[in-house]
Symmetry: C2
DNA sequence: GTTGCCATGTAAGGTGTTACATGATTTA
DNA sequence: TAAATCATGTAACACCTTACATGGCAAC
């Protein structure tokens, strides 16, 4: 799984420039690459070199010229192959859990403050996700099945943060109950 | 959050060598990401340089010599500070979701096979986690609160994969129902 | 006239993984 | 005698992020 596959995926929706791709990456939360310029432009050169995309240069009357990339048949086949490639397990990086693992180093009041801050961050994140999904009307689903998949994926993504929020709330409540014993 | 903090944390349990640390990182699932030789040995040199750890060299009668590191008071203070530092949100890397986002490229039967393979991977992972938690008796909790935290963290880690499993099962069932319409 | 968007790139630096190099001891 | 484990490190590479460089156009 690399950024090239995701680029092929985006280009299968419609031809795009590097700049378009950068925005596309930024729009879709669960495609985790921040989609930095470096990677995108570099990947496009490589995909072009391998013949998976073609390049057309647009010179509009006004504005800068853009290089628009289109998927080729070979590219479409590569996309299909990638979709069917062995699934990888998700990788969860959770620095806060590691921090918390040594939470015994601090006092109960300090610990609860830390947990409260984390709860806050997660809550804000969830609000942000919901706002974003409201705005995101441009789900590019061509078929009902595609739309269905897309919906399940984004819901699942939110569910992750919801579980996080529920967990931290229970934890705080239980620690509080303990403290009063 | 960097590997240095986790190292300080481990050393706060007991003095360890680089080799010990490497194993410690490998043992604890939710810290699993960081522990490669390169990083550990490099970080130890740096921590030593900053005076957060001291080094004693053991030359046992048999076997190779080992450099054992101990936390200093400054190190313990740095650990405390880190524990109280602003919490970071978890980062989820989920290549399979990205793959699935373009699942429309393949036929329903192929898609279900893919989902089945993923379900299998998650199931195996969960089994592995449960086995591991059975073996892991060496929870280094000094206090009841520490043990409590540790237990909540590892349970939460499993819950993540459990949610994953539930999600994929529902998804498959619903896709199947759709197909029969 | 300054900010922001469109558009293409480069450079530098940090993070993280895999493999390699070395050498002694223990276990099968 | 071959392997695995103990133990310390180095090297090379891939990945990913941040910031920089350039320049035109539009809007306020």
């Amino acid at each position: 799984m690399s950024i090239r596959h995701a680029i092929l995926g985006f280009l299968s929706w419609r031809p795009m420039s590097g700049y378009d791709l950068k925005k596309a990456f930024g729009d879709v939360e669960f495609i985790h690459w921040a989609g930095s310029n470096n990677q995108i432009y570099h990947a496009l050169v490589e995909l072009h070199h391998r013949g998976l995309v073609t390049q057309t240069i647009e010179n509009p009357e006004s504005g800068p010229s853009r290089k628009v990339y289109h998927v080729t048949d070979a590219g479409r086949e590569a996309l299909r192959e990638w979709v069917l490639s062995p699934p990888e397990l998700p990788q969860l990086r959770h620095p806060f859990l590691i921090q918390l693992a040594w939470g015994d180093q601090v006092e109960s009041a300090e610990l609860d403050e830390l947990l409260a801050r984390y709860e806050d961050e997660v809550r804000v994140k969830l609000l942000m996700l919901r706002e974003q999904s409201k705005r995101m009307t441009h789900t590019p689903a061509n078929t009902p099945r595609g739309a269905f998949l897309w919906e399940r994926i984004t819901t699942h993504w939110s569910a992750f943060y919801e579980q996080e929020l529920a967990w931290i709330r229970t934890l705080r409540a239980d620690l509080d109950a303990h403290r009063k014993d």
